[in-house]
């Protein structure tokens, strides 16, 4: 129908059928299906608290990685410093909860806004750097903010960290059963996927991809490159900070080294997106579904005997992806699908 290969049959003066451009609304059926499938996993493992824990962690990391994907994948700005925005969210929620007795639900919006503002402010100078230099600068930022977090112990609890008292209730975002956390994280994942789909199928999404592909072309086409990157970073950081709030209430004990961890947060969410398919809507979810449960099971099975074995496995998956699935799971799948349909 809209296959361009058949267009030569049309007489020259009739308009050629153009390929359809998918809209946000066009994404919704698939989005609903994917979320329903994830909910199905939660239902399937009812009563298995180990599995529910894994699902909660998987959905959290899928959501973080999806948030990262907005600027890291679509915009091509390979940030390794997203743990900073994550930690911002956790600390804002912690302070509001511990000092003012406020519900963490009320912390979501301030966390998102503060993290977005901070992200845009620090990215302003750093966005002048391209490629690996940008990535290195974001790593440096992580280390600087970590050092500051250790110093300002009145906010962060310093090296001892913070703990949130266990007072179960939806209002406090604290639950006795693990399944509720899995549902909570799935809801967060749903929010990030909806935002990612909306951005991808919008002018902003196209402009971010243009900036990713070639900044000179983007500029010549009238795109304000710096502004586009800043907006993408702001949205990405805001969602990541919300993830920090959920993480805090899930683990209830946080200290700066674990929140700002380059490997466990900053690099990991980028790697998950890379493995799943950078810049695609569902890539990070696929990556998280592959990596997080595997890692969790290995940690449970081998963690005591071989500390760090989960890192070896993660590295191994990454190497395999780099060798055989250059565009990640989702990217390669899409290409394959297009090839089959295009008959080439």
């Amino acid at each position: 129908m809209s296959n361009p290969d058949t267009s030569f049959r049309a007489p020259p003066d009739t308009p050629v059928a153009m390929p359809r451009v998918r809209s946000f609304v066009g994404e919704l059926p698939l989005l609903a299906f994917v979320l329903a499938a994830c909910a199905g996993l939660i239902v399937f493992f009812t009563g298995n608290s180990f599995a529910q824990n894994l699902l909660a962690t998987t959905f959290l990391f899928a959501a973080l990685s999806t948030s990262w994907n907005i600027i890291g994948g679509l915009g091509g700005q390979f940030s390794l410093g997203h743990s900073v925005f994550f930690a911002f969210g956790a600390y804002i929620a912690a302070r509001m909860h511990l000092d003012l007795g406020l519900s963490p639900w009320l912390a979501l919006l301030p966390a998102a806004l503060v993290a977005a503002a901070f992200a845009m402010l620090v990215s302003w100078p750093v966005f002048r750097l391209r490629g690996p230099f940008f990535a290195i600068a974001t790593m440096a930022m992580t280390e600087v903010v970590l050092a500051l977090a250790m110093y300002f112990s009145s906010i962060t609890g310093g090296a001892q960290g913070l703990s949130i008292p266990f007072k179960a209730g939806l209002h406090n975002m604290i639950f006795r059963d693990r399944m509720s956390y899995a549902i909570l994280m799935l809801c967060f994942l749903a929010v990030t996927l909806i935002v990612m789909a909306a951005v991808t199928r919008s002018r902003l999404g196209y402009q971010l991809r243009a900036v990713h592909d070639n900044e000179d072309t983007a500029e010549a086409a009238g795109i304000d490159v710096l502004r586009t990157k800043l907006v993408g970073m702001g949205i990405s950081a805001a969602l990541t900070a919300m993830g920090g709030v959920f993480f805090l209430m899930y683990v209830r004990v946080v200290d700066p080294p674990s929140l700002f961890s380059l490997f466990d947060i900053g690099v990991k969410i980028a790697l998950i997106a890379l493995i799943g398919g950078i810049g695609t809507i569902y890539g990070p979810l696929l990556g998280a579904l592959l990596v997080v449960p595997l890692e969790g099971m290995l940690r449970a099975e081998l963690g005591g005997m071989m500390p760090g074995s989960n890192l070896i496995v993660l590295g191994f998956i990454l190497v395999l992806t780099a060798m055989y699935l250059r565009k990640g799971i989702a990217g390669t799948g899409t290409d394959l699908f297009a090839r089959i349909r295009g008959g080439r």
């Binding site: 153009m18 390929p19 196209y206 402009q207 000179d216 500029e219 086409a221 810049g279």
Partner: protein, 241 residues
């Protein structure tokens, strides 16, 4: 006087190299001006000064009576500058249609509008049949036409074409010449960097010759192409001083 586009005493140095050296000229609305010169004469650098990709070391650029020196390329694009790149800078992760949409988004907010204008631009350069292809799979000639389509989708007032004919076959060249004349009658002003002198004759009432960063000659195609200094620059190459 306030020309449509005016560049005054513009220079651009790269270290000790004067890529563009004290060049002044004006382009009137509705003109097609050709810019020719041997390799390394500074043609593309001059384009970059006009579009804002590079800032001049000295000199000024004005557009419709306004000094546009401080404006970045994207701001000039909003004033109506469209350009193609000599080394085609196709957005390889996108389809052909999406590449053209990037230009259309200058004026359109909604996806369907951008897609419609992009499709119309592809139609004009003869790429409608490959709209769904990945742009990375295009031939060199198709990529150049895609550059033109992206610029057209911006609906520019001023279009700067940097060697769009290179690598195109005879039929394609004729098509682009026809397209350029068509755009011109629609009110688009064009500045064209071109090596093919036949094409230059077909295009322009006015030709600018650049050599070693300086404006060597200016005039009608016939006058300029028979100018001994121009012939010397082209054929004599580096032998003369």
């Amino acid at each position: 006087m306030t020309g449509f586009l005016e560049i005054r005493n513009a220079s651009r140095h790269f270290g000790g190299l004067k890529a563009v050296d004290n060049v002044s000229f004006a382009v009137e609305k509705g003109e097609i001006v050709s810019l020719i010169g041997p390799n390394g004469a500074g043609k593309t650098t001059l384009f970059n000064l006009l579009t804002g990709q590079l800032a001049p070391t000295h000199g000024s650029v004005s557009f419709m009576g306004r000094d546009i020196g401080p404006l970045r390329p994207h701001q000039r694009a909003r004033l109506g500058f469209g350009r193609t790149f000599q080394i085609s800078k196709t957005l390889v992760s996108m389809s052909v249609l999406e590449n053209a949409m990037i230009g259309a988004f200058l004026n359109d907010r909604a996806l369907p509008d951008a897609a419609r204008h992009a499709a119309a631009a592809l139609e004009r350069v003869g790429l409608a049949g490959v709209a769904g292809k990945r742009s990375g799979d295009l031939t060199l000639g198709e990529r150049r036409r895609l550059e033109v389509a992206r610029a057209l989708a911006m609906q520019p007032h001023l279009l700067l074409l940097d060697e769009v004919m290179a690598g195109l076959n005879q039929t394609e060249v004729q098509e682009i010449i026809a397209l350029v004349h068509q755009l011109n009658t629609e009110g688009v002003t064009l500045i064209v960097i071109e090596h093919n002198l036949k094409v230059v004759r077909a295009f322009s009432r006015r030709v600018l010759v650049l050599n070693r960063g300086q404006l060597l000659a200016e005039g009608t195609a016939d006058a300029v192409l028979t100018d001994p200094a121009v012939v010397e620059a082209y054929i004599g190459g580096g032998a003369s001083s």
